[in-house]
Symmetry: C2
Subunit: 220 residues, 2 copies
DNA sequence: AATATCTTGTGATAAGGTTCACATAAACCG
DNA sequence: CGGTTTATGTGAACCTTATCACAAGATATT
């Protein structure tokens, strides 16, 4: 299998390539080179070629990549035709925003239900997604074959909620809480810590000298 | 200066250490070892020691780290006492949620204003943060010495909005749009692409064999 | 006070990722 | 159709980050 050894960072970039190729396809562009992709996506062309070479020899020397072919290849590779059902746990500010975020539009991911302990939220409907009590999690997971959850509960409930949903069958968690969750090895957790992201950006801004904008290099 | 050569990844972990130390301090814990920190934060103890060693020799052999001392050191290092003012551009679903997110509570970051083109949003107040028209950006930036913006506009306005705010003096952008922004070298951009995060999590879940949970190793 | 235990800080090594630079082959052009 | 240009795929070099493993110093114990 080609997908045995893809670096984590490459896996994160493939959707970017896919999305940009979709755009190119819509406007009718036939071919694209790694350097054009580089200009559009701000990724080094060698990195792009390396990434794509993990999947096979998808380009042609002196030509570049055929947009339709590469798009189709990535569609298959990223299984863009299979829709993956996801649940969201914790319908607060951020949770509500994510329910409305519409991951589904032109993507292969769909939030099928929200969950909250707060009875005033249970039964409501946010952009067509129903909010259930946590008790119903097991049913919904079984019905929709859900394995992935977005976790947006308050930080002090994060670990216990994680334990609960893992016990009900969740294997992947996109954790928006600042808590560093403990979980069995079969569970994959990706953390998005908004505070840290903001703080780190500020840290680098404050601690590194203002880089003068690079001049156009002399043409050779 | 000690902060000349800190790896990017270390800078992202320091706030985690800081937050956990705050908790320890509150409960009155005096000392902490890298292995205890490791258990709590799910970061290899050697990595923690390496991270802290970039800042100096903060621990003591056979003892660990003094919580109060390390906390104070990190507070200074991360300039937790200086509040950095930030603006948010694009008061939609996600933007509104982030305005309410309260980065300020126990952190050194404060969103001082929201901005939107939509006149029905202008003048409203979300958790005490006023939403202004984009025309007012320059004034607010000058008044609060703002250099950092959170960008939550629709993707098709992302680049033009970025160009505009950079021209007004913004030097750091936390970009929540899926657009890959082009900017002068002096501008620092951190991307948080929610769709990609979710897709990547799913990708790894689908493509890697279920890892059996690790058994407790035999005690030596 | 001697011994056993603990835990740091770090040299060395491994792992993961990026970029260079070029052989190779296709495309383009006159 | 031969020469020039273009652009891939990849070996090798490089850079960044993570982890191992241990000397050395501090603590704890008897």
């Amino acid at each position: 299998m080609a997908d045995q050894k893809i670096p984590q960072v490459t896996a994160k970039r493939l959707p970017l390539y896919y999305r940009y190729l979709e755009k190119l396809h819509v406007i009718g562009k036939q071919r694209i080179s790694s350097s054009e992709l580089s200009d559009a996506l701000q990724i080094d062309p060698a990195t792009i070629r390396r990434d794509l070479s993990y999947l096979g020899e998808l380009g042609k020397k002196g030509y570049g990549y055929n947009v339709t072919y590469l798009l189709q290849f990535l569609r298959d590779f990223l299984k863009q035709d299979e829709v993956t059902s996801v649940v969201l746990i914790g319908v607060g500010n951020l949770g509500t925003a994510l329910l409305r975020y519409n991951f589904y539009r032109s993507h292969n991911t769909k939030i099928v239900a929200g969950f909250d302990r707060d009875s005033s939220k249970v039964g409501t409907d946010i952009d067509g997604i129903t909010v259930y009590d946590m008790d119903r999690l097991e049913d919904v997971i079984q019905l929709h074959q859900v394995e992935v959850a977005i976790l947006t509960v308050p930080v002090n409930f994060a670990q216990q909620t994680a334990d609960f949903i893992i016990q009900k069958g969740i294997r992947g968690i996109l954790n928006f809480t600042p808590a560093r969750l403990t979980a069995p090895a079969h569970v994959r957790i990706h953390n998005i810590d908004l505070t840290v992201e903001l703080q780190t950006l500020i840290y680098f801004l404050k601690n590194f000298p203002v880089i003068e904008d690079i001049q156009e290099p002399e043409p050779t």
